[in-house]
Amino acid sequence: MSAPARTAWHRARITAGRVLSRPAAAISVTYLAITIFVSLTAQWILPIDPLYQELSATLEPPGAQFWFGADELGRDIFARVIYGARTSLLTAAGAVVIAASIGVPMGLVAGYFGGWRDAVLMRIVDVLLALPGILFAMALIAVLGRSQAAALVAVGITGIPSFARITRAQVLSLRQRDFVLAVEALGGSASYNMFRTVLPNAWSPILVQVVILSSVAILLEAALAFLGVGIPPPTPSWGEMLRTGKSYLYEAPTYAVLPGLALTLTILSLDTLGRVLANVLEDRREIAEDEPAAAPVQVKP
């Protein structure tokens, strides 16, 4: 089955080319790529440590040793911002995986079968939607305790309804298309049809939602940390830094400004990327070359 892989690869390449041809998206992608790369490889490429406490250097202003100053425990603010990106990205990735792996199948089943399955699944979604995200997350963390996993699960669950609804809407419009009926007429089972025919044709808005939920997850994680219920210290987190840094705005302005800037730029980049991606994918031009095959039909005499 090498051909379908080639399809996905081919389409991805063309889509990526179209996204990167827009300057705003190109800048966003570059920023995100640098953020991801640096945060993952920091321990090898940067001579900094986010946990080391230089107690003689508390709230030291920017200088040769601490490029952007030190916090109230003498830790390198720059290092903590870099490593804080890890926390944000990990939460985003985990939340997206949880939300998509539960929401997408829910939407798929609801849209494909309709009837009582649709009614039951969509009522579950309605219930999830009725819960205010941040309160639900706080309640969950109160039960599970403060940990990276709890934050990630909490954010993931609040992301389920959007995936379920988007997938369902896509499936509903694909369900009556002839090529889906054709597979049914060939004797393909419902699960074959759902996962092999419908889902591969429904991925574009799901992909956009992945980007959007990443940004929502990063914000929600920061908000939880800011409220003091996020990742427990000493793990660096942007929200946690904002929370503490706001008390030292005069002594060490970089303490709050730097993580705030990182957070803002990340969210801005993700939202820009999501918007451009949605535009590109909505453009219904055929991804494949749009000209009929040059090879002639062999006509029987």
């Binding site: 051909a3 060939l186 055929e286 070359e289």
Partner: protein, 685 residues
């Protein structure tokens, strides 16, 4: 044009050396290349061509409605206005006063939120020809002129309250309001059923005779052209390749493409053993072959260097014009005249009638109508209401009817794609409706479905090789059947090169996609194919290729076909027996020749008489029955015989008593009519 020169009045429309090139996509795409023609008052010019021939672009150029990416050269005069140089305001006035447009789809031409009467008269009011005060009365008068009953009430109604045929008549009223001098009708009846098409063409002809307007009729349907046009221009690859009077074009075409079009057309009045298709496919404007655009498909020019090197000019010759280097050789293409009807009857070898492969009895498919807060069922749409039919091995049963009659629903219910609410479907003796899913899947291996729209029925993100292999993979037979070797065989079987296995559906033309759909259906070696309008979405020259392929496959593989179609000519060509459907029921069933020569049910009779025959010599034959009204809604079928409100034989009994579907004593026909009988000689043509 010689005919134009003989007239004293200047032409209403004069086109000289018109070229339209689209520049939007980065390279120049020539859609129309150097065409010239005139249209005079009171005449109908038919422009015939396949998709991509430039006929619609021509009509947009005439009205100045081309997008800004189009580069136009040449001159285009409508009355005194030169359209290519006029400013926007002049063009607006020209469109309001001189030119009326009728588009293909009346549903999208009319604004759904404005009353019909206001839309019909809007242009007249805004150009100051009619005052607000007299607008309603004028609108009503306009609707009356296109035979819409009760116009005073109708002007206050909205488009959704009009049926398709009435909407198109309202569009005609709108286009012809204010004595326009030029009417451009772009495929005006393509979206309509054949009985409604007859009504609309009659109204168009009547209004033209009354106003003396010049009409440009753009169509792909040679039957419509033969019945309505005075002169014909045939377009191919953005050029006019032949012009002449309608009789000349049909009787003695002078361009190989025209010859090919006429020969590839299945006809109601002539039964040929086999259609003669034009090989290959029409060129897209973006990739025109060098020299003569038709050369790659031309039996005369295919191997000639002159044709490959030089695009022939449109040369006038004895009152007609043809763009061919070798017009003198055309008569050799015509060959022997088509054999008279009934020359060949593709009867199946039925020495002893084999048991039917498919038997459908009293099939019903009702869709519930739910209303109100509690979604209570308040009625049902009787899409299929008691259909019985049978298909024997190796034969073709045609299922014919107009849109909304339930023929597609019947096919899908047989296939198990829609649940039947009543009746029985037996395939090879086994009852399908009560099968469990596993047994149903096994049965489906022997029964396959071909969809109408080849563009929609192939998964766009799979290669065509994988699409054809899919049924084998689903049933776990891929390796047993021989893997990709089997897929390559299937490709060759349907006339496609196996080198194209790795391509995607978007890279193929409509006809090729339909071949891929057929290859996929044949992968499991079925016994029965349900073909739902398999050629309706294809160009005429491609239709013939696919029809021939279907006939070859039937002979080679002994397939049985249930051929669902609205095109009576194609059905006559391919089917052994025919069943006619109306409003969810079969009203008549007989073998092909009996049905076409001695139709017994009044609906069949009017249906057959409404089909335009591509032979101008037979124009004005007196046998046409123009049905009144439209097909009623299957949610509220009329009482008694569902056809009685439109029937010319209906009597009091018909509105109360449902006629039984029974054998006729006089001929081998089953019909559901109290007064089933062949047409009287004076009624027939």
């Amino acid at each position: 044009m010689a005919e134009g020169g003989a007239r004293s009045a200047p032409p209403v429309l004069s086109v000289r050396n018109l070229s339209v090139t689209f520049t939007g996509s980065g390279r120049d795409v020539p859609a129309v290349r150097d065409i010239s023609f005139d249209v005079h008052a009171g005449e109908v010019l038919g422009i015939v061509g396949e998709s991509g021939s430039g006929k619609s672009v021509t009509s947009l150029a005439i009205t100045g409605l081309l997008p800004p990416t189009a580069r136009v050269s040449g001159t285009l005069r409508v009355g005194e206005v030169d359209v290519t140089t006029a400013d926007a305001e002049t063009l607006r006035h020209m469109r309001g006063r001189e030119v009326g447009m009728i588009f293909q789809d009346p549903t999208t031409t009319l604004n759904p939120v404005l009353p019909i009467g206001r839309q019909v008269i809007e242009g007249q009011v805004s150009h100051g020809f009619v005052t607000q005060a007299e607008a309603p009365a004028r609108a009503a008068a306009l609707l009356r002129e296109v035979d819409i009953p009760d116009p005073a009430t109708r002007i206050g109604q909205y488009p959704h309250q009009f049926s398709g045929g009435m909407r198109q008549r309202a569009v005609i009223a709108m286009a012809m309001a204010g004595e326009k001098r030029l009417i451009i009708a772009d495929e005006p009846t393509t979206a309509l059923d054949v009985t409604v098409q007859a009504q609309v063409l009659a109204v168009l002809a009547k209004r033209q005779a009354e106003t003396g307007a010049a009409v440009i009729l753009i169509t792909h349907d040679l039957g419509v052209v033969a019945e309505t046009a005075d002169r014909v221009a045939v377009m191919y690859g953005g050029r006019i390749v032949e012009t002449g009077t309608v009789r000349e074009i049909f009787a003695a075409p002078r361009h190989p493409y025209t010859v090919g079009l006429l020969q590839s057309l299945p006809r109601l009045d002539v039964v040929a053993d086999r259609l003669v298709p034009i090989p290959g496919q029409p060129p897209t404007p973006a990739r025109l072959p060098p020299g003569c655009a038709f050369r790659p498909r031309c039996p005369i020019g295919r191997d000639r260097p002159l044709c490959a090197a030089e695009d022939p000019a449109l040369r006038a010759d004895a009152g007609r014009a043809t763009a061919c280097h070798f017009p003198d050789e055309i008569p050799t293409l015509l060959g022997a005249p088509m054999p008279p009807r009934a020359a060949a009857t593709p009867k199946p070898a039925t020495t002893t009638a084999p048991p039917p492969l498919l038997e459908v009895e009293n099939l019903q498919v009702h869709f519930p109508i739910r209303t109100g807060l509690l979604r209570r069922q308040t009625g049902s749409v009787r899409a299929v209401d008691g259909v019985s039919l049978s298909v024997r091995p190796g034969e073709t049963l045609g299922l014919v009817g107009e849109s909304g009659c339930g023929k597609t629903t019947t096919g899908r219910a047989i296939m198990g794609l829609i649940r039947a609410t009543g009746g029985s479907i037996r395939f090879g003796g086994d009852e399908v409706t009560t099968m469990d899913p596993a047994a149903l899947r096994r049965t489906r291996r022997n029964m396959q479905y071909i969809f109408q729209d080849p563009y929609a029925s192939l998964n766009p993100i799979k290669t065509v090789g994988d699409i054809v292999a899919e049924p084998l993979r689903i049933h776990g037979l891929f390796d047993d059947a021989g893997g990709m070797k089997r897929v390559a065989e299937l490709f060759e079987l349907v006339g496609l090169s196996p080198t194209m296995l790795g391509r995607y559906p978007a890279e193929f033309s409509g006809g090729q996609k339909q071949r891929i759909g057929i290859a996929r259906a044949l992968a499991l070696a079925p016994k029965l194919l349900i073909l739902d309008e398999p050629v309706a979405a294809l160009d005429v020259s491609i239709q013939a290729q696919v029809v021939n392929l279907l006939q070859d496959l039937q002979k080679e593989l002994g397939l049985a076909y249930l051929f669902i179609a609205h095109d009576l000519s194609v059905v006559r060509h391919i089917c052994n027996r025919v069943a006619v459907m109306y409003l969810g029921r079969i009203v008549e069933q007989a073998d092909r020749d009996t049905l076409y020569e001695q139709p017994a049910h009044p609906y069949t009779q009017s249906l057959l008489s409404a089909v335009p025959v591509p032979d101008p010599a037979r124009r004005g034959h007196t046998g046409r029955i123009v049905l009144q009204g439209d097909i009623p809604s299957p949610a509220k079928p009329p009482s008694g015989c569902p056809f009685h409100p439109r029937c010319f034989r209906a009597e009091a009994r018909c509105s109360t008593e449902i006629p039984a579907f029974r054998d006729l004593p006089t001929q081998p026909t089953r019909a559901a009519c109290h007064f089933a009988a062949p047409r009287l000689p004076e009624q027939a043509a």
